[in-house]
């Protein structure tokens, strides 16, 4: 990528995402290029595929949940092209690293809305929560416990009592209780790995 193009891209992206300075965007683009080069050198692809993305997020933030990571991929991949371009990469990271609460709510809801129908249904919750409980031999039916848990979630978050979570429900619930942002699985990097990542990627440019 030419120097000029890089600068131009950085400038426009820093303007569109608002959260990064130009220099920071440049750093992210360079990181993108480096990672891309390492992961799939033989093909001249324009972005990460699913597996490469998963590895990248794992390496960067220690995120491991496959179900969630797949969804994160889909959320990053706005164009639905099956690979993540540099623009999508920078825009996605903007939310992960510096996003406001509203942006994060939108992002999380998109991740959790598995089929993208605008609602998080009981089935989707079950899908996401099914492995959250340690199976205990003494327990009757592990699925029952999960179902109970889903009822607890609905009681807490389903404001309009329609048995599923709309975006409005989710937004309201998270605003009332920030902890519910990641109610169905970790999809944001925790603060320590975030700081570590920024320190690594943005040398000297981190402002206080």
């Amino acid at each position: 990528m030419s120097r000029k193009r890089l600068q131009f891209l950085a400038e426009s992206l820093s303007r569109s995402t608002k959260h990064f300075s130009e220099v920071e965007v440049e750093c992210l683009i360079k990181l993108f290029d480096a990672l891309l080069a390492r992961s799939c050198s033989q093909f001249a692809v324009s972005g990460f595929n699913r597996i490469a993305f998963r590895d990248t997020l794992f390496a960067a933030f220690g995120m491991t949940d496959d179900v969630v990571l797949d969804r994160v991929f889909s959320t990053f991949d706005r164009s639905n092209s099956g690979c993540i371009t540099v623009v999508e990469w920078v825009e996605g990271l903007a939310i992960l690293l510096r996003g406001t609460l509203e942006e994060k709510i939108k992002y999380c809801f998109a991740v959790y809305d598995l089929n993208g129908d605008g609602y998080i249904s009981r089935e989707e919750m079950f899908q996401m929560l099914k492995d959250t409980l340690i199976k205990q031999p003494a327990d009757e039916d592990p699925d029952e416990a999960i179902k109970d848990l889903i009822e607890i979630v609905l009681k807490k978050m389903d404001y309009d009592h329609d048995g599923k979570l709309s975006f409005a429900d989710f937004e309201q619930a998270v605003k009332d209780e920030n902890l519910l942002l990641e109610a169905f699985g970790p999809c944001l990097p925790d603060i320590k790995s975030r700081i570590a990542f920024e320190e690594r990627v943005f040398p000297d440019t981190r402002k206080l």
Partner: protein, 1048 residues
């Protein structure tokens, strides 16, 4: 009465559906109250009594138609009342033993007619009508658990339009609710007296009895067996579905003289059950009275048991082989001593002994040595119910030593429980608000054990237990969901707070803090922050090591988490041990670090302010320990506090000023407050709109203003006026105490007094002399005392009528208050006109009697106050003499060990001795040797007043010579060499008096006094000059006389 019936009355357990009321003392008293209510209803509320019920109350009666007399139409078996409702139905109808009643009027008639059967009738009525209110007023008034809004609806209706019937309903429902409350209250009393059994108690009792059972003549029982060998984890043997009813286990007991007895041990006591049914199934229904334990039960049932029990006594002592028993007795004994200790009580021990107390609820029921005694006397006295047996045990207590010991335990126990309950209630309210500021002494709170014993668990308990399952078994995601859901419970409620502890959820929450999962930590802390409002939880958190983890979290990069941790620390660190833990794990440094978040250059950001606020809150809690005050200073907290003091956000100012005022007890902080210019801000915030902030500012000034420069600073920054203004807010007593304290200390400077006079503070202060709590009074009186420095203020106090209340306060008991009152009265007494009032109120006598107060400060201040009184009172000599034993008392105070007392008494004696007769009396009481003994002091103030006293005491009889004999002259000569002119002056005056006695002149001369006196002859102070010259003249005269005698 619905609620009372539902909850308090004991319905037979087995029956669902109709159910019957058991015959227990509790139910009986409930019924009696209801009957009384019904009986008096028609006379007390005649209008409401005529109200016709929605549906009749209907029950099977045992009353015969023949008992109905006037006002009823009797035909064969049916009876109708003559009174009818509007639609013509009779208000009472009896047909085929079914009675239907439709008004209170008729109800009360029935109770009157039923005579001695009324208890049975009431029982039948209530059994048939579980919720009578529904029948009386209609189904919409059914008793519901929890909030009952029916009254409110009704009230609305009444308001909307006048409707006599609704109003009537309203009255009736209010009356019924009243009764309900009354019933609940009285049953609560009974229930709380109830002793409850637990599995451990039953088990040890059974083991004990087993040791004395077996074949043979002398055993107490033939056999005693559990019906089931399986023991559940909770120690019960009853099947779970019976445990719900409180059953613990079932026993088959074969006494020597009766058939096998099948008994049930229930938490409520021991009773006979229905025995084995066919098919090996037990009949669980209760068939006898309830007894408090197995022994009591058997005493009732088996005479042989009682008899043989008496014989066992000897073998019991002889055979220590029964290891279990001897151990057991030891335990009980230890407990007795433990309990009495509890009575005397050092709160310190409370934690420990309350744990013992908890155990003792069980143990109390267990048979210890004294059961033999009760057994013995029980055989002489027949008993019918368990109530009687309880009474008996107490009576026996009086007759035998062993059980009197036991009785003591009982009462001790009862007492401690009462205390617990009382203070428990306090805890939940405001006992230890952070704002309860401490004085110099480190304050500490003590956990108070709540009364245990009831096995009923709150709904919160089950709810939280269910959720805690997910916290325990879930990954972070499930945990966070469960934690969020837990927060939907009302955390401010005590039952909820304790549920966390009882379910073991607290441990899990604290373990969560130790993870790396920020969300889990946050969720856990959000809960901990709330429930740590509870004193027991606080202690539990500290015990579980929660504080050190929270201190660690203070380093977290997550700001929210930091805030939560600091706030929770603020809640937990309200007792000494917790504060120490915080310090030991380096928490103070980190908390001070939170205050550093001020972003340089930028205006304070919301987050940073929040962090600083939480940090300050935690520091405030911690700053109640002296060592923590030091640690805060060492960590550089003072400049940071000073910086935050400059901001204008009350939310952060309150904890910051709170910390400062707490720390102001340390001199280093007072210095810092002065040098860092904090007074200006403190003064500024006196005018804040937050009373709490005003209070802490005033309190900080109160603590600092002992320092003169600070007093001046307060004045220079215009702090005196807001202080005076705040006096008008006399509702908030804490604020008032702090403000009056600040005024008191500021008034030590005379410049400030003039300012206060300008602001007419004295008038306001006088108004505060009555109807105020002690902590306010102390400061008000102190302030008035200081204001009396100005003559004009002394008359102001008189003009405002301040003297009578002041004199009245001389009868107070608080020592700090008395000291201040003495000072103020003394200061007022310097005005003759004031003195007249004081005298007329007999104030001098009151002051004099305060000399008997054990506190030396009170003694000294009273003696000081007496000086101007004696000086200014009319006929003071006569007045002093009228106090019987008064002179002896004051002379005897010369034996005190306290310098200030001695000084003040010398001053008083100097004044009293001006009256010759009184001097004579004092001389008789040995004032001369006592004064002489004090002469060798180093204290200049004492020297001065002592010399004055000596001077004035010379005027009687041979006192001059006596002073010489008791070697007072030598030291007085040395007083002349001190560099304090007032001492020199007093000494010179005394020496002049003493020099009238020749032998004294010799001593003086030997002491080289002439040279010193000659200097004073040149003084401009006339009396001094005169005294010095006179003294020299006396010495000289003696010398001349001697020479004349020698050579002449």
């Amino acid at each position: 009465m619905g609620a009372a019936l539902e909850r308090a009355a004991q319905w037979t357990a087995a029956g669902s559906g109709t159910g019957t009321l058991e015959i227990t003392p509790l139910n009986e008293s409930l019924l009696n109250q209801i009957i009384k209510f019904a009986e008096e209803f028609s006379t007390k509320h005649p209008e409401e009594a005529a109200f016709v019920f929605r549906e009749p109350l209907e029950w099977k009666t045992q009353l015969d138609s023949s008992v109905f007399g006037k006002g009823y139409v009797v035909n064969e078996a049916a009876v109708q009342s003559e009174a009818t409702s509007r639609d013509g139905q009779p208000l009472l109808l009896l047909s085929a033993s079914t009675l239907r009643v439709r008004s209170f009027d008729q109800l009360s008639r029935v109770t009157q007619i039923a005579m001695e059967k009324k208890l049975k009738e009431a029982q039948a009525c209530l059994e048939a009508n579980r919720d009578p209110i529904v029948k009386i007023l209609g189904p919409e008034y059914a008793t519901v658990e929890g909030e009952d809004t029916s009254i409110l609806h009704l009230f609305d209706k009444v308001k909307r339009g006048y409707d006599p019937e609704t109003e009537m309903k309203m009255k009736i429902i209010l009356l019924l609710h009243q009764l309900d409350l009354q019933l609940l209250n009285s049953s609560l009393k009974q229930i709380s007296q109830d002793v409850r059994l637990n599995p451990a108690a039953v088990n040890s009792e059974v083991n004990l009895l087993k040791n004395f059972s077996g074949k043979g003549e002398d055993t107490v029982l033939e056999s005693l067996e559990y019906t089931s060998d399986y023991v559940f984890a909770n120690g019960c043997r009853a099947p779970p579905w019976r445990q719900v009813h409180g059953d613990i286990c079932y026993l088959v007991i074969k006494p020597h003289d009766t058939d096998p007895l099948y008994i049930t041990c229930n938490t409520a006591g021991v009773f006979l059950n229905g025995g084995l049914l066919k098919g090996k199934e037990l009949d669980y229904e209760r068939k006898s009275d309830v007894y408090k334990d197995i022994v009591t039960f058997l005493r009732e049932r088996s005479p042989r048991f009682v008899e043989n029990m008496a014989k066992q006594e000897y073998s019991f002592f002889k055979e220590p082989a029964y290891e279990k028993n001897s151990q057991y007795v030891e335990g009980a004994d230890a407990e007795v001593s433990g309990q009495s200790q509890n009575l005397y009580d050092s709160t310190e021990k409370k934690v420990k002994s309350s744990a013992a107390g908890r155990r003792s609820t069980g143990k109390k029921l267990q048979p210890t040595m004294q059961w033999k005694n009760t057994g013995l006397s029980a055989s002489q006295r027949p008993k019918s119910s368990d109530k009687a047996s309880k009474k008996d045990t107490e009576e026996e207590g009086r007759s035998s030593t062993v059980s009197s010991k036991m009785k003591k335990k009982f009462s001790a126990n009862a007492k401690s429980l009462k205390i617990n309950r009382a203070s428990g209630r306090k805890t939940s309210s405001s006992l230890e608000d952070v704002s309860d500021s401490s004085s110099d002494a480190e304050e500490d709170e003590q956990p108070i054990r709540r009364q245990e014993g009831t096995t009923d668990l709150s709904p919160e308990y089950w709810g939280i237990q269910k959720l805690s399952k997910y916290v325990k078994a879930g990954d972070p995601t499930a945990t966070v969901i469960a934690l969020c859901s837990m927060r939907d419970f009302n955390m401010a409620q005590e039952s909820c707070q304790l549920a966390f502890k009882d379910t073991g959820c607290l441990e899990v929450l604290i373990n969560l803090l130790d993870t790396e999962e920020t969300n889990c930590q946050t969720g856990s802390l959000k809960i901990l922050k709330e429930i740590s409002q509870n004193i027991l939880i606080r202690h539990a958190i500290a015990d579980l090591g929660g504080l050190e983890i929270m201190v660690k979290i203070l380093d977290s990069p997550d700001k929210d988490l930091k805030c939560l941790a600091a706030e929770t620390i603020a809640h937990v660190a309200r007792f000494k041990r917790a504060r120490k833990t915080v310090r030991q794990y380096g928490g103070i440094r980190k908390l001070v670090g939170l205050l550093e978040c001020v972003s340089v250059g930028t205006p304070y950001q919301a987050k940073d302010t929040e962090i600083a606020r939480c940090g300050a809150l935690a520091l405030w809690s911690c700053s109640k320990s002296t060592k923590n005050k030091k640690a805060i200073r060492k960590a550089g907290g003072i400049p940071l506090l000073a910086t935050w003091l400059k901001c204008s956000d009350a939310n952060i100012l309150i904890p910051v000023v709170g910390t400062l005022q707490e720390c102001a007890s340390e001199p280093s902080y007072r210095l810092a407050i002065k040098t860092e210019g904090m007074i200006e801000n403190l003064v500024k915030n006196l005018s804040s709109e937050h009373e709490e902030l005003q209070m802490h500012c005033a309190s900080a000034i109160f603590k600092c203003a002992e320092d003169k420069q600070i007093r001046d600073l307060v004045r220079q920054h215009g702090g005196l006026q807001p202080l005076s203004v705040l006096l008008d807010n006399s509702e908030n007593k804490k604020l008032l105490a702090a403000v009056t304290g600040a005024i008191w200390k500021c008034a030590i400077s005379i410049e400030n007094v003039s300012k206060f006079r300008e602001y007419q503070t004295i008038e306001t202060l006088v108004g505060l002399l009555t109807d105020q709590p002690e902590e306010v009074l102390i400061n008000v009186v102190g302030a008035l005392g200081e204001c009396c420095q100005e003559k004009i203020n002394r008359s102001t106090i008189r003009r405002c009528g301040g003297i009578p209340p002041l004199v009245k306060l001389l009868t107070a008991t608080d020592q700090a208050l008395l000291v201040n009152v003495n000072k103020a009265v003394g200061a007022c007494a310097t005005e003759t006109e004031n003195m007249m009032i004081i005298d007329s109120l007999d104030g001098v006598r009151l002051l004099w009697s305060l000399l008997k107060n054990p506190n030396p400060d009170v003694q000294a201040s009273a003696a000081w106050a007496l000086c101007p009184c004696v000086e200014n009172a009319k006929d003071s000599g006569e007045m002093v003499r009228s106090f019987v034993g008064g002179l002896e008392l004051i002379v005897s105070l010369l034996k005190s060990k306290n310098k200030e007392v001695l000084t003040s008494v010398c001053a008083a004696i100097a004044n009293i001795a001006k009256d010759e007769e009184n001097l004579a009396v004092m001389t008789d009481h040995g004032v001369v040797p006592l004064l002489s003994k004090l002469a060798n002091t180093n204290d200049n103030k004492l020297k001065r007043h002592l010399a004055e006293a000596v001077c004035n005491c010379c005027m009687w009889g041979s006192n001059r010579a006596a002073f010489g004999e008791y070697k007072a002259v030598g030291p007085l000569v040395r007083y002349m060499k001190t560099n304090d002119p007032s001492v020199q002056r007093a000494a010179a005056l005394a020496l002049y008096q003493l020099s009238e006695e020749a032998s004294n002149c010799i001593i003086m001369h030997e002491g080289g006094v002439v040279k010193l006196l000659l200097v004073m002859v040149g003084s401009t102070d006339d009396p001094l000059q005169e005294a010095a010259a006179g003294c020299v003249a006396n010495i000289r005269r003696l010398a001349l006389a001697t020479e004349k005698a020698k050579y002449g």
